[in-house]
Each structure stands twice: as C-alpha cells, then as structure tokens.
C-alpha cells in the first residue's frame, strides 16, 4: 500500500475535518430525535421559481452559459442589489458562482498571496479558515463576544491589524450567532479601513434575514468601501434555493477580472437551469422573501422566549436563522451538553465549538423548522434540563 501522506497535498492533509461531522454521525445513527441542527431553509423553493427551471429544461436550454453567467442574470443581480441594499454595480462586476461557497473561495484565491493575514471574526461559518489556508493566507481569528452582542468592535479590529493584514472577512448577519452590524457600527469599521490597503470580503448570504425592523446594510455601500470590497451573496437562504447552488460575487472590475479566471478554469460556468430559476427569483421573488422572513421571525421570537423561560440566557439574534444561547449555566462543556441532550433528551443542537473554540459555552439552534417542531423540541429540552 502506498504511503498517501507522502503523495497528497500537505496543505489539504493539514486541514482539520469539520468538527461537527462526528456529532452529525451520532445523530444519523439515532431515531426519534427532534433535530434543530440544519442550516438551510425548511421551505421548498417557491413554485414559480422551480417552474422557471423546469421550463428552461423543457425548452432545451441545457448548454453552458458565458463564464460569468447569463447576461440577463447579472443584470437582474445588479438591479436587485441596488433595489434591496443600495449597491451600485454593473453586470461586468458580477460573477455567478456555484453557491456562496465558491464565491468565497475565488475571492480568497484572487486576493491572497502567501503569508497574507486574513482577519476572521469568530464564531463563524466553518469554511473561511480552511479556504484561507488553501489560498496561502493565514487566518487571524478575532473573537466576538456575547457582551458586545457578537459584533466586531473597532477596538478588536484595531488590535488584530498588523502590517501583513490583507483582508477582513465580514460574516454578517452571522452564522451561528445571529448577530448583525448596523450602519453606525459598520461606519466605525470603515473609518479604520479607509486609510489602509486592507480589503474586505463581505459574506452577505443572510442579508435578507434580518428582524425587528433592522435592514441589512452592506459595508460596500459606505463611502470609499466599494473599491476594496468583494460582496458575496446568493440564493440559498433568501429564496430557499440551497440545492440549486447559486451564488455570486460583486466587486470592482480589477478584482472581478482575477476571480473570473479562477472561476472559468475550475467551474466553466454555474449550472444553467439554476440560473434560469434564479432570474425568475430576482424578477418576481421579493414577496416570497417577505413571507419567509415573516415566518422565521415568528419562530425566532418563540424560540428565544421559550429558551429564556427555561432559564437559559439567550442573546437576541437579529439576523440569519439561528439562536446562540449561553449553555454555560449548566456547568459542562458544550459538546458534553449537546451529546447528553441528544442521548438523554432526544434533541439535537450543534455545540458552539463547531464554529471555533470561542463557541465554548454556547450552542447553535436553528429555527429553520416549523413552529410545531420547535415547540416539541422546547418541551423535550425542558424535561431534560430538569434532570440535571
């Protein structure tokens, strides 16, 4: 047998597998569990969007598109970004990607040189760290804290900047904490960046999921920020289109030019059927977003209220579809709490440590589930914590 460790990429081998996999394997082996673990909408893609995909197949539109994506699609993305987030781009500054994940990957690879530092507010989605490393960069985690409502503070950003800092990742609205950044808070971050060459990757995949009257603000819409920012967005969360794998980047031409090369050599073009469906979403999907966000908001309030009623301190999330309660009150590590809740209480939630060591003491609970499902979970959690 060959010694593969000598044959394969050292960098790839050094990447840690996602810590949460073990937990999901345990979950998969059990029955009668009420899971609140899934990070994707429980809604099915609205019918008119699915139908547009089906129609494109019926019409035989099964070819590649141009590398950057259908022209109509990119035009509609520009109109959407302007309509919803006050962002101005032209279609030559858009690349349609295979989900937001590919968009993040090509942005890192287009921007980073070996040894460049990338500031990553944590806890956060698990892909930034490994993708930065594969692009030759060095992730510099900055811990956001509950006392700051899990926001990136100017002080924390300042303390993480070194002469090697190349890029700041802005993962807001945040998975797993549900934190958002307001225009005021972003302005303070922008003030720090303005006189530097630090670029920004703004991952806005949850941009439509904000609550309590707080609209998402893109850092790229602030003065002088557009020129240094890659906006990443997509259709998975806003339109419940996870399986269609549709994302995009919006960035100034010189950045887009480099990213497009990486995209065209690795991917060619994003799936054509999905692009036709996405065009319909952009043209006629605003009311679907409003409906789904209204539903999420009800569940959010129900879940936060329910957890607090059980004596579990819970930061009020204002975005995405997760709550990030403080389970430190039970005096055991997050993983142990979640494992016991799984085996004894038959409820699955994700230990906060899956999103970085700083997630210790917390757990991520998804409310991309029906109210009835969440209700059942809360009843089980109540029973379980009474046994502790």
């Amino acid at each position: 047998m060959k010694d593969y460790s000598q044959l394969l990429s050292r960098k790839a081998q050094e990447l840690k597998p996602s810590g949460i996999r073990k937990f999901f394997d345990m979950l998969d082996s059990m029955t009668d569990v009420v899971a609140l673990t899934v990070g994707q909408p429980d809604f099915v893609t609205p019918w008119h969007i699915r139908e547009a995909g089906i129609t494109s197949l019926e019409q035989g539109k099964t070819y590649y598109t141009s590398n950057a994506g259908l022209n109509e699609m990119r035009k509609e993305i520009c109109s959407y970004l302007s309509r919803r987030f006050d962002l101005t781009y032209n279609e030559n500054e858009i690349i349609v990607t295979v989900g937001g994940s590919e968009a993040i990957d090509i942005a890192f690879r287009a921007i980073l040189n070996e040894g460049d530092e990338v500031i990553v507010p944590t806890p956060c989605f698990v892909c930034y760290d490994p993708l930065v490393k594969m692009a030759g960069g060095v992730p510099v985690p900055v811990v956001t804290e509950e006392k700051d409502n899990f926001k990136l503070t100017p002080e924390k950003l300042m303390s993480a900047i070194t002469p090697k800092t190349k890029l700041l990742v802005m993962p807001f609205p945040n998975n797993p904490t549900g934190a958002i950044m307001t225009e005021d808070e972003l302005s303070k971050i922008a003030d720090i960046l303005r006189n530097t060459d630090i670029m920004v990757l703004s991952d806005e995949i949850y941009a439509e999921m904000t609550y309590g009257g707080k609209k998402h603000v893109s850092i790229a819409s602030l003065p002088d920020m557009r020129e240094r920012t890659v906006v990443v967005n997509g259709f998975s969360k806003a339109y419940a289109m996870t399986g269609w794998r549709m994302g995009y980047t919006a960035a100034p031409q010189p950045i887009t030019k480099q990213m497009l090369k990486l995209h065209q050599f690795a991917i060619m073009s994003a799936p054509t059927t999905s692009q036709f469906a996405a065009i319909e979403a952009l043209k006629n999907g605003d009311s679907d977003i409003e409906y789904m966000v209204g539903e999420y908001d009800m569940r959010r309030r129900y879940l936060v209220d329910g957890l607090r009623a059980l004596g579990i301190p819970c930061f009020e999330p204002e975005g995405a579809f997760y709550v990030f309660p403080n389970i430190g009150v039970f005096g055991m590590p997050s993983e142990e709490f979640c494992e016991r809740l799984l085996y004894e209480g038959k409820v699955a939630i994700v230990p906060g440590t899956a999103f970085g060591e700083c997630g210790e003491g917390f757990a991520r609970i998804s409310y991309a589930y029906s109210l009835a499902h969440i209700k059942e979970a809360l009843e089980r959690i109540e029973k379980f914590i009474k046994t502790l």
């Binding site: 996602s18 979950l27 673990t37 990070g39 994707q40 429980d42 009800m298 309030r301 129900y302 109210l371």
Partner: protein
C-alpha cells in the same frame, strides 16, 4: 390581532403564553384579545384536521352543485339557512357561475350520501337541479398537504 389569528389558524394548540412570546405581547393582553375574538365570532372554533382515510372509519364525502330558484325578498339566504341544519352538510357556499350553491357532504357510505341527495335535498321546493361529485382522494385541504410519508429530507451538512 391578525398575527394572533394567523398563529392560531396554523396551530390552535398554541397557549396564550406561547403566543405572547412570539408576538412580544403581554400574556393577559393576548388572553383578552382571544376572548374578544371568540365573542365577536371571529374565532369560531378550535378543531383538529384529521385524515380519516388513515383510520378504519367508514367515510365518504361529496361536493354537490345545486341550482335553486331564489325566493322573493330573501334571495338565497333562506334556503342556505335551511341547509345548514342538516348534520350531513359540512359546508355551504353561495357561488358565482354555472350553479348557485355548493355543498360539501359527509356520510358513512355512498349509499347514505345518495339517499340524502335523493330523499332530502332534491325534493326541497326551491331545488331546480343537483349534481353530485364524490371525492376520490384528498391531496390538500385547508392549506395542509395530505401525505403519508412526510419526512424532513434535509441532510446535515457543514
């Protein structure tokens, strides 16, 4: 108020405490709103939605189209008010289009429904004609999909 109604329409077992949590309202306020809505006849009942096909209960339902002769001064109201008294009658709707009244009837057997139409409905004075359509299978009712094996197919991914 509409938020409370929407919540109850989806799940009438939600308690006032839970509704208060969702709507960020005071529990007492929710309770008194619900009482008022019941009193005003906005909330008419709290019923379960049951797929009887999954039980051993003998059961059949039919949609009946009725053409009737309206009565002086009362239009269709008097006739409709008479129909609602039959326990077999589940719904009564006044319709636009090719017929006047649509009934949904439930009975134990087709024979029972046929008997109702032939011996109770058709002889009524104002009835001009009837057309009975038996329901073969329900796929969706009151916004709920009748599916035997509904399960969450989303997979955990990270």
């Amino acid at each position: 108020m509409n938020e409370i109604l929407t919540l109850l329409e989806n799940d009438c077992r939600l308690t006032p405490e839970q509704i208060a949590g969702i709507c960020k309202k005071d529990v007492e306020e929710v309770k008194s709103t619900m009482r008022q809505l019941e009193k005003d006849g906005v909330i008419l009942g709290y019923k379960a939605l049951i797929d009887w096909d999954k039980t051993d209960r003998e059961y059949v339902s039919a949609v009946i189209e009725l053409k009737i002769a309206p009565q002086r001064d009362r239009g269709f109201d008097r006739f409709a008010e008479r129909l609602i008294n039959y326990p077999e009658v589940q719904s009564v709707h006044l319709m636009s289009g090719g017929f006047d009244i649509m009934l949904i009837i439930e009975g134990k057997t087709m024979k029972e429904v046929a008997y109702f139409v032939a011996y109770k409905l058709a002889p009524l004075e104002s009835v001009v004609s009837t057309a009975t359509h038996f329901v073969l299978k329900k796929y969706k009712d009151k916004g709920v999909i009748y599916k035997s094996d509904h399960k969450d197919e989303r997979e955990n991914i990270l």
